[in-house]
Symmetry: D2
Subunit: 157 residues, 4 copies
Amino acid sequence: MDISLSGHMQDGSHRLTQRVYYEDTDFSGFVYHARYLHFFERGRTDYIRLLGVSQGQLHAQTDPADAVAFVVRRMEIDFRSPARMDDVLTIVTTPAEVRGARMLLSQAITRDDQVLAAAEVTVAVINGFGRARRLPDALMQRFLGAGEAREPEGEAN
Amino acid sequence: MDISLSGHMQDGSHRLTQRVYYEDTDFSGFVYHARYLHFFERGRTDYIRLLGVSQGQLHAQTDPADAVAFVVRRMEIDFRSPARMDDVLTIVTTPAEVRGARMLLSQAITRDDQVLAAAEVTVAVINGFGRARRLPDALMQRFLGAGEAREPEGEAN
Amino acid sequence: MDISLSGHMQDGSHRLTQRVYYEDTDFSGFVYHARYLHFFERGRTDYIRLLGVSQGQLHAQTDPADAVAFVVRRMEIDFRSPARMDDVLTIVTTPAEVRGARMLLSQAITRDDQVLAAAEVTVAVINGFGRARRLPDALMQRFLGAGEAREPEGEAN
Amino acid sequence: MDISLSGHMQDGSHRLTQRVYYEDTDFSGFVYHARYLHFFERGRTDYIRLLGVSQGQLHAQTDPADAVAFVVRRMEIDFRSPARMDDVLTIVTTPAEVRGARMLLSQAITRDDQVLAAAEVTVAVINGFGRARRLPDALMQRFLGAGEAREPEGEAN
């Protein structure tokens, strides 16, 4: 099964394929509940990567005032049905709203089109001093028109 | 600094002291957001332990119909302020409501009485077949009168 | 960048491509050392998957005497150079020796052909009772002739 | 059961008590092998803390040339017997040798005096530029006479 390492955009949503490994499970036999947040975060990171920015680059700005970091402020998560070892999951990330220094995203973890977990995520945009900042205009444009996502510049991933 | 390994009850809430280690942090310099769910889960597990039951024992019932397992169904989490390497955190777990096969818990992670993260957690009670089941009466009594929590029987922890 | 979800065989070694995410890093700015063991384990799991078996299926045998599980007994790990957020890593797994109830594997985590971490791993083969058992002949044949690895039966991953 | 949050020194070794939680286990029913490295790391961090230094403080030196960080270069780990959910473990850390920019430590994870996992760990001492540096004399003295370990200054943990 071939996949795109950083996922792809489809109908305005980002879709990322991930495997469940040993590390994700606990002794109940299912995926440990906090691991779904890892999958959600991988989805958000690769969604932002496809919009043209890598988190590592954003953090590494030399002037902290210019740096852009994303911090999760709030999550509402419904754990509907458990995932298991070896499952192939799709993490679906859909931008719901972008306002100044705040983004709302809807996320789902699915297996064969069944939603196993769903989350509403509020992400704050901060600079290198930890203060709220507006999303740079170029980045905001890409969020609003997420359908036209593109590969990060100067990177072949 | 001496602590009780499984925490202690105080004013109807369970309080557990935990240290932040390398494993809890990420390259932003703060605690990785999903790790707060680990701290919350440690708090719930030790709270239930002080009520007289260990999760391991509950799972190990020979008749699956008698087994009692707790599964997180929903979490609303506010990430207010970041924790850092070496921080000493207190996880505060307060039972909010117990109804048949469902428990609501309020949890907070604090540092020097500042709330860093707060969560409303809905936990389902299931048996070994994965079906909803009532909490055993003895266990329900202890939840409702959590102030009188006691050490697990036959265990010196 | 398109990859094969379960990796692929090349010159007798299994190669799996994985991304470094937030969860893998710690506050030093680099990948947390224990996370390399996660990457190594993903490599071993997908290598065995390409040999025709999934760990989940092996565990789920109805007769515990027939079950086959792999348990890590010993690891020697050299951490040579740190990985960072956003890195694309290749986990290379090479079977070194199979003897009765014991397998030796050489593993490396590479980035652009630079070895970041290398490990010699001893894996024991046990049954569902936790006792040492020989690798089933069919599986042993595949290990010894790993070049001819094939997709797991009845699975499209 | 009361414990010291940061462990204590006994006969030249540091001993830290830790509980096994859900997060530490995998679907095999036992502790996930990479988690032992987390326990080992907690032991090393608290051992160094009792010698008078916190990792967070060491990293936070304003002049990178003065910073002291510890990086794991090599581990040989024997996984002897599995730990389970709810287990109470003791992590035993014994300094074996300190030479310039390199420390060797012997570590064990025990349950009721049974060794479940043992590790020989080589730790490099580096500065904030990532270059090898000698351990500061004061710190080296404490390692060599580890029996007289003391609480970190200005901290009540």
